[in-house]
């Protein structure tokens, strides 16, 4: 049973076995992946290097019948290794007990796009992988029919064998693999996909995680676990301020420690820093402890550079000032906001603040790099192995072909591991040690203090209500440093994809809408964090919707549904959102009917409207992101200013379901991450330095603060497999926080406009 981990696969020599004929179906040249006739500008077609559906890339069948599925998307807890294997195995007609999973290295030329972000793995690869499975099944049928001299239409592959009803003959997949390999891959349009009624794994709850046994017995390999012969261990002291560098170094005490091998300076990153290491001083030693001890013994004076003044409190004030001023870039303008606002019976305004956050995956960034005979090999927990390969090659002065990036399991990612700076550090240090394998480990303090932080933002909302309490004017000003600042000279303006995360495509039925984006400079590395700009946008919009309900004297849920308005399909490009999560707006319009349905489902799930005792309250919020619809209803209890969230109901419509259990687990996890963001999680800066460093100050929920009850409701057409899928990994998160703060208002009449709540409710 313990056979799906990366270590075991390579240990048993399966990969080597391919050349020896054991994995016969895997041999062969891939056919070109991108279909010429399909639209190139959207979805999977528009991703760098597109997609592949060649069974010879993804499926290997050994002579004993073992099916090995190659997973080209990175596993970080979303269950993709299991889900991809389910898709392929189902179409292939394989028996689950005979299916193994192996992880692809970074090679987009071969596998198509491998960036595991944007909640895209199944959305983009479900259909290509189904076709890969169906093509292999067809080849097995053709091989059997040829062997028996019967028409291929008379045979059927299923249950790991091909059978001929007429003669009662059957042959196992292992017996047919060699002959099937010699066949041409059938043309894409000749394939017959299974009817969903025939699915045995897709959409079913019965499949356990492929890595379950390894995870529960400690047999997994994450980036931090990789071991190589003669390996050295390293940690790096990085500039405490973004853009700083070493002014002076005394490493004599570090080098005096028995087991410290070398101290190496790494050049400071230049702006824009992208994925370059931040620079600093590395200590390389015989084990991790000695490397850390050596680092503690370094005497370094830093030159702090241009961000030495960065102070979160002052910065919040500057964002607030920008968001309260006219003249910000107008990014959305429908109807006549000024006229409608001027004629309003009632004006409501509110300003919301969200601090920086660190992804803080439980496995901190870690990687091993080894350089031999002019070739570098990395083992790393990376979400984006292809860009890791490219940047590592550049940094080491090698060609792309001379660099291999093996992907381990990721102990969480949440966007942090989309940036391969830590792998480059390992590469630089291996080079400094004449190519010896070096494991570079980030301590938790390194992770919290030198991150790619979630942006910090002020969202200023203003609305006008008419005499009946209807919202007739809506203005949203968003001020936040952009992720664009790591890729180019700081544009100080949010990029289209950031604005497209719930702001430009905000679907509320209000006639007069204006959105503005005043400037904001970045002073730390800003990076993707699960759900990205949807977090501040959803917090502001869904809090404000509840504030408007209150101003109108209406029930929060009823008012939200009224704001969502009648069921309709919105083309977001008409609202200035040219991004639309990279998807075709004809295929993926914003559907307000689906939005309303998840709001109703979340409300039903929490028994909305029930009488609440003193100190308790219910709140609700809905948000569209990653082309899925999610609503959250939360129950809170506030005692002595402490907020507990005993119960949450979360409803998602993500289209048809591939792995329903993993949809549920992603929603559960999103709720708990959101509880943290509402109650306790933040990173602040003073004098350019992060004020938090480890889990004693960077707070995330523990068991005792997690909701005792989380009900997940899967809404919508769960079997519409011919229709486009939505994302799952990220869209659960954005509505959690406003649902909680709206519930806090219901419980206490105190409106939370600044996150986290921390001690704001203590008197």
């Amino acid at each position: 049973m313990r056979n799906s981990s990366i270590t075991n696969v390579s240990r048993r020599g399966l990969l080597g076995g391919m050349g020896a004929g054991a994995f016969v179906l895997a041999v062969g040249l891939p056919r070109p992946g991108r279909a010429q006739e399909e639209e190139p500008e959207f979805g999977r077609d528009a991703m760098p290097n597109g997609w592949r559906d060649d069974p010879k890339i993804f499926i290997a069948i050994a002579e004993d019948g073992t099916v090995t599925v190659t997973c080209h998307r990175q596993e970080m807890g979303q269950g993709v290794r299991t889900s991809i294997a389910m898709v392929v195995a189902d179409e292939l007609g394989a028996e689950w007990d005979n299916v193994r999973v192996t992880q692809a290295p970074g090679d987009e030329e071969k596998y198509g796009n491998q960036d595991t972000d944007g909640s895209r793995s199944l959305r983009h690869h479900f259909m290509p992988l189904r076709r890969a499975g169906a093509a292999a099944r067809t080849m097995l049928e053709q091989a059997a029919a040829a062997q028996w001299g019967v028409d291929v239409a008379e045979v059927k592959a299923d249950g790991h064998k091909v059978s001929h009803a007429g003669s009662g003959k059957s042959l196992g997949y292992g017996e047919l693999a060699a002959a099937a390999m010699d066949l041409e891959v059938p043309a894409r349009d000749s394939l017959t996909l299974k009817d969903p009624s025939e699915f045995r794994y897709i959409g079913k709850n019965s499949i356990g995680l492929v890595d379950n046994m390894d995870i529960t017995t400690g047999n997994t390999t994450y980036g931090i676990d990789v071991r190589r012969e003669g390996m050295l261990y390293a940690v790096v002291a990085r500039p405490p301020v973004y853009g700083g560098k070493v002014a002076s170094l005394d490493d004599s005490a570090a080098l005096a420690i028995d087991g410290v091998e070398k101290v190496v300076q790494i050049d400071p990153a230049e702006f824009p820093t992208e994925f370059a290491p931040l620079g600093g001083v590395a200590v390389i030693a015989k084990n991790t402890y000695l490397a850390m001890k050596g680092r503690d013994a370094l005497q370094i004076e830093w030159e702090d550079g241009p961000n030495a003044e960065y102070d979160s409190e002052a910065y919040r004030e500057s964002l607030s000032q920008a968001a309260n001023s006219d003249g910000g870039k107008v990014i959305r303008d429908e109807g006549d906001y000024d006229a409608a606002a001027a004629g309003a019976a009632q004006t409501v305004e509110a300003e919301y603040y969200i601090p920086h956050l660190a992804q803080a995956p439980m496995e901190p960034p870690a990687a091993v790099v080894e350089i031999k005979d002019g070739k570098a090999e990395a083992w790393a927990c990376v979400q984006a192995p292809q860009v890791t390969r490219l940047r590592l090659a550049e940094r080491l002065g090698l060609s792309e072909d001379a660099v291999k990036v093996n992907v381990t399991l990721l102990g969480g990612g949440f966007g942090r591991k989309s940036k391969p700076d830590f792998v480059l550090e390992a590469g630089i240090l291996s080079q400094a040690m004449d190519g010896a394998p070096v494991k570079l480990t980030w301590s938790r303090e390194d992770d919290i203090r030198h991150g790619y932080y979630h942006t910090v933002s002020v969202e200023k909302m203003t609305a006008g209500l008419d005499a009946d309490g209807k919202t007739i004017a809506w203005r949203h000003r968003t001020a936040a440093p952009t992720i664009g600042s790591i890729f180019a000279p700081d544009p100080a303006q949010k990029l289209p994809f950031e604005l497209g995360m719930g702001l430009l495509n905000m679907p509320l039925a209000i006639e007069n809408i204006r959105a503005e984006n005043p400037q904001a400079q970045a002073h730390v590395r800003i990076g993707w964090y699960r759900a990205v700009s949807n977090i501040p946008h959803a917090f502001a919009i869904q809090s404000f919707a509840a504030e408007l309900a209150n101003a109108a004297g209406r029930d929060q849920k009823d008012y939200l549904l009224e704001l969502i308005g009648p069921a309709r399909q919105i083309d977001p490009t008409n609202q200035g959102d040219v991004w639309n999560y990279g998807e075709n707006p004809d295929v993926y319009p914003v559907d307000t009917g689906r939005m309303a349905a998840v709001v109703e489902a979340a409300a039903d799930g929490i028994e909305w409207g029930r009488e609440m005792p003193e100190g308790r309250g219910l709140g609700i919020a809905g948000h569209y992101s990653f082309v899925s619809y999610v609503a959250v209803a939360a129950e809170v209890e506030v005692v002595d200013g402490e907020v507990m969230v005993p119960r949450v109901s979360i409803a998602i419509d993500c289209g048809a379901h591939v792995n329903p259990d993993r949809i549920r687990s992603q929603m559960e996890g999103a709720v708990i991450m959101g509880v943290g963001q509402a109650l306790m999680t933040e990173v602040n800066f003073a004098e350019g330095r992060a004020q938090q460093g480890n889990f004693d100050s960077y707070l995330i929920p523990r068991m005792d603060r997690a909701p005792k009850r989380i009900d997940v409701h899967l809404v919508g057409d769960d079997a519409a497999y011919d229709r486009p899928l939505g994302g799952v990994g990220e869209p659960g998160l954005p509505p959690v926080v406003p649902a909680i703060t709206n519930a806090v208002f219901a419980a206490t009449k105190k409106r939370i406009r600044r996150l986290p709540i921390a001690d704001q409710l203590r008197s």
């Binding site: 890595d211 402890y289 102990g411 969480g412």
Partner: protein, 159 residues
């Protein structure tokens, strides 16, 4: 030089006696099932059993462990069939899985020690272990399931 018993095997370590058990296990013995998450006793990723008691390997200097019996996730059961491990698989508790070795070791000590496990016990004991993926609801359910299975076993043994 310190001698200790790790998963039933006698081992010794003659390096820096201040080295935390965590790095001895991971870097020197190759037992990477025990994870690093914080290094300051704040996350539980490094939970092992020292003479049967759940302990943070990251803050335990190896030098104090002369003669101690250490159990890591690799040695919790012969075939991965401790009731906690089975419940974990049965309920698909894991997401990324990184924290789960520590969670399993913490939970195993809990259900091995007590015949009944309440929600309050779970809050008190399992709050030592962080999970960034947010698997707490399933951990709670799995601990209860394992405790029930375990007490079932005990009853069977008593008969």
């Amino acid at each position: 030089m310190v001698k200790l018993v790790i998963n039933g095997e006698e081992r010794q370590f003659d390096g820096d006696q201040d080295t935390p058990l965590l790095w001895v296990l991971r870097d020197e013995m190759g037992l990477t099932g025990t994870k690093f998450g914080c290094g300051i006793a704040a996350c539980g990723a490094c939970t092992v059993h020292i003479d049967g008691a759940p302990s943070f390997a990251c803050v335990t200097p190896v030098g104090v462990l002369e003669g101690a019996k250490i159990t890591t996730i690799e040695g919790l059961s012969e075939n991965g069939d401790h009731p906690v491990q089975e419940a974990w698989r049965d309920l698909n508790v894991a997401q990324c899985g990184y924290c789960q070795a520590g969670q399993v070791m913490q939970a195993a000590a809990l259900v091995d020690q007590y015949d009944t496990v309440t929600d309050e016990d779970i809050d008190a004991v399992m709050s030592a272990n962080l999970c960034r993926c947010g698997t707490y609801p399933r951990i709670r359910a799995a601990v209860k399931q394992a405790a029930a299975a375990k007490s079932g076993t005990k009853e069977a043994e008593a008969q």
